[in-house]
């Protein structure tokens, strides 16, 4: 009786709702839908089928209304109302009255909105393909918010690289549905937004890939290597399409690049149709299994297996009675557990062992800041630091007498350096993303060359200046390519050399003494010193290998046009690469070191400044000017003896230091100012190095060493060769930072000019 009252109450409420609501009031429809569910649940077992059918039918009508699938919402609402009152009327009498049942059935038959087959659930079935129009993507409509497309491009690229990482993880753990989800979601989003921006090709492709992923997500198809490959290819294609949009946006080109998508779509279709059976064969014999003990424990914990039975089975296994059999199989054979339970336990064991996914960052939120603003701030903080130094120098004397002033100054100093630290850290990002991009690279290289290569990453969280990261990417690619392509041997050779079949490349990043070190190490064949020197002599880079240290020999690989690879592959070994690494490192004021042992592997070490905004400089004085020479380029400074200064025909002034001659650079001649001292033996020469060449720079005195904030020069001075920028020195005056490489080339071009004339 109570049930009936309750049903009556719900029906009354729904009827009232129908009378008062607008036909497109989604929330009201939601209430009605819930009411139908509630009613059906209560009377499921007691009410006659016809009555329940009408409930279901009417619920279907409400659903269709909510989905805007009815031709006339007003009429549908009317029908809904009529149906509801019929339900109300018959609710109490229906059990006895055959006539009522007739009325219910008649209504169901006649109502135009109820589904006669009662299948009113999935009105949309599966997702329809976005309109299949044959015309290729239309000219990009730039009248749309250009910024919007730009941000779409940027964001999509971020998503695509995250997809790539997840796909590669998925390859290792094909059962991890969370990963499938993490891959599905960004594709879905890219599809959605590209639809808005009328980027039809991207939209279509993303939709197709999404569909396949959705099938994988709902376990309609299994995660096979084929699926992984196709998703990776899909990432590449979408990336190319987006690149094309980017290019069109920049160049104003109207025609899209033609991309043959047919074969890819064909493959997608095969994947989607091909494997329709889920991979897990629950009843099968081959239950994949890890550590037997854990599975047993899981089963005991779940109460599926008794502890004694497990022990028995373990004993059997140990006694060799069921030799080679997995604990799960023994339990199933002994009828102690069902295959399904074992499979479940196995799956659980697998998921348990996965490192806990970082579920939702609890490290607070993020905001995106224009890098320009950040650069400005770092600049201003630099000013602050210098101003603080100036102030300290000015007040130094007074502070000696005034303890309070000294305290205040010290406090100011602490705060300033803390602000500087924070400001610098804001531009720092972890190496992680850059390292992770190498995963794909190594995978592709290895599979192309038929090698097995493991990539290990260490110190991915080490942070480095954003700008440095961008610039370090290419060199890193070259180095990893070299390692995978030339370093690591093919499996047969490795086995023959007594090494494990799979080679290892280790990426390591760490801070050391104010520098960032990035190491790429492989356990491959190592550099062949003889081959290197022979090649260098053949190319005329050196006359003989005599007296060359290991470092010198290894340094040869950085010469432009130097490559020892016997075979030119399509990925590396074109004779470019390592000189690019060197070039970028010079630009970054960093250093490269190579260590290698034949047969055991190679390690290349990049030493980078933590940030580009500050450099460590030697402050020198020439004439009335102060110059900053980057410390990393300075080898030593000496006052030469008079007899060591020579003038060589066609080469100009040279200074002899420990038996070698070094050209002399006179700053006062290059930059045209009156010098204080003209004779090197009365002054000081600083020996600077760039790109393997050493020259002496004549200066009056060395003032000291200081960290300076690099200020870029104004447009008028920007093109002056030999100057890298300006800096405010501790005494408050401006000093020019010398660009050693530029200085050298300036001198050389002048020397050439002299010789020519």
């Amino acid at each position: 009786m109570e049930d009936r009252d309750q049903v009556q109450k719900i029906l009354d409420e729904s009827a009232l709702c129908v009378v008062t609501m607008e036909p497109d009031d989604i929330q009201a429809l939601g209430n009605i839908l819930n009411n139908f569910d509630a009613v059906k649940k209560i009377v499921e077992d007691t009410a006659p089928k016809a009555w329940l059918d009408l409930c279901t039918g009417l619920k279907g009508v409400a659903e269709k209304m909510a989905l805007f699938e009815v031709d006339s919402p007003t009429r549908a609402l009317e029908e809904l109302g009529k149906g509801l009152s019929l339900l109300q009327e018959t609710q109490r009498a229906v059990e006895e009255d055959q006539g009522d049942i007739e009325r219910l059935c008649a209504f169901l038959r006649e109502c135009p909105y109820t589904d006669s087959t009662m299948e009113c659930v999935a009105p949309w079935a599966s997702g329809p393909e976005p309109a299949e129009t044959e015309d290729q993507s239309p000219p990009l409509d730039l009248s749309q918010d250009r910024e919007l497309i730009e941000s779409f491009i940027q964001e999509s690229m971020e998503h695509l690289s995250s997809i790539e990482i997840h796909v590669l993880e998925l390859e290792k753990e094909p059962d991890n549905l969370q990963l499938v989800d993490a891959i599905f979601r960004p594709f879905h989003t890219i599809k959605g937004v590209s639809g808005f921006l009328n980027l039809r090709e991207i939209n279509k492709l993303a939709h197709q890939i999404e569909t396949v992923l959705d099938d994988a997500r709902s376990k309609k198809i299994s995660v096979s290597p084929g699926l992984v490959d196709i998703v990776l290819d899909g990432v590449d294609l979408v990336t190319r399409l987006i690149d094309d949009v980017d290019d069109r946006l920049k160049t104003g080109r109207l025609e899209p690049e033609y991309l043959e998508l047919g074969p890819f779509q064909e493959r997608l279709r095969t994947i989607a149709e091909g494997a329709d059976a889920p991979s897990e064969d629950v009843e099968g014999e081959h239950v994949p299994e890890g550590d037997g003990l854990d599975v047993g424990e899981l089963l005991v914990k779940k109460g599926v297996v008794q502890a004694e039975d497990l022990e028995e089975a373990l004993a059997k296994q140990a006694a060799g009675e069921s030799k080679g059999k997995k604990i799960g199989e023994i339990l199933i054979e002994g009828k102690k557990a069902k295959a399904r339970d074992v499979a479940q336990a196995l799956r659980k064991q697998k998921t348990d062992r996965q490192p806990a996914k970082a579920a939702g960052g609890n490290g607070g939120g993020f905001i995106k800041v224009d890098t320009l603003k950040l650069d400005n701030m770092v600049d201003m903080v630099g000013e602050l630091v210098i101003n603080e130094a100036v102030l300290k120098q000015r007040l130094g004397m007074a502070a000696g007498k005034d303890r309070e002033l000294a305290g205040d100054l010290a406090q100011l100093g602490r705060i300033t350096s803390e602000i500087q630290r924070i400001a610098m850290s804001m531009r720092m990002i972890p190496m992680k993303n850059t390292f992770q991009k190498m995963i794909r690279l190594v995978r592709d290289l290895a599979s192309k060359a038929g090698k097995k290569v493991n990539l290990e990453m260490r110190g991915e969280d080490t942070e480095i200046d954003r700008n440095v990261v961008d610039m370090i990417y290419d060199p890193l690619v070259h180095m990893v390519r070299n390692s995978a392509d030339h370093g690591i041997e093919i499996p047969e050779d490795r086995l023959a050399a007594g090494k494990p079949e799979a080679g290892t490349i280790i990426l390591n990043a760490y801070h050391k003494g104010g520098n960032m070190i990035i190491e790429v190490t492989d356990d491959g064949r190592g550099l062949d010193k003889e081959a290197l020197t022979a090649k260098a002599m053949e190319k005329g880079l050196i006359q003989s290998a005599e007296g060359m240290s290991d470092q010198d020999i290894f340094g040869l690989i950085f010469h432009p046009g130097f490559s020892t690879a016997k075979k030119v592959t399509d990925v590396s070994g074109r004779g470019v690469g390592m000189d690019v690494v060197k070039g970028v490192l010079d630009k970054l004021r960093g250093k490269v070191e190579v260590m290698s042992r034949k047969g055991q592997g190679t390690s290349i070490l990049l030493k980078l400044p933590l940030t580009l905004a500050v450099i460590d400089g030697i402050i020198v004085k020439a004439g009335e000017q102060s110059y900053v020479i980057p410390t990393i380029s300075v080898l030593e400074s000496i006052r030469p003896n008079r007899e060591d200064c020579h003038t060589v025909v066609n080469k100009g002034e040279m200074i002899k230091i420990r038996g070698s001659l070094y050209p002399l650079i006179r700053l006062h001649e290059l930059f045209d100012f009156p010098p204080n001292t003209r004779d090197p033996w009365d002054a000081i020469v600083v020996i600077a190095e760039s790109e393997g060449k050493q020259k002496c720079i004549l200066v009056d005195e060395i003032l000291g060493k200081q960290e300076v904030v690099i200020k870029s020069l104004s447009a008028m001075l920007k093109n002056v060769v030999g100057l890298a920028g300006g800096a405010i020195l501790a005494n408050g005056r401006v000093g020019m930072i010398l660009d050693v490489a530029g200085l050298f080339s300036l001198v050389e071009s002048q020397a050439d000019y002299l010789t020519a004339s």
Partner: protein, 124 residues
Amino acid sequence: MDPNLKVLVVDDFATMRRIVKNILKDIGFTNISEAEDGAVALKQLQAAPVDLIICDWNMPNMSGLDLLKAVRADEKLKATPFVMVTAEAQKTRVVEAVQAGVSNYIVKPFTADAVKEKLKKVLG
């Protein structure tokens, strides 16, 4: 529609949030905040309720549907108009959202007019 109403746009894709925001601005709303997933949105809502939520379905951490359920279960928030943004392929699941008490939903890709019309209905 009162342009001073506080609107929260929830979507994990920043570009999508911008699209929605631009449309809202066209309609005249000025007081718009954003959240990048359901969990973040819920935290924000609990701290400061809004007058309208426009929310994507597919998001990491907490999906739009879960956010909807959480909002409807929260005494303070439960009356907040909640508009779900959904892609075509998920229409079958729209019923689920409807039953969870969504105020209305918008199917992607949508036009500014469609949004305007839906919001009119929701906000009365």
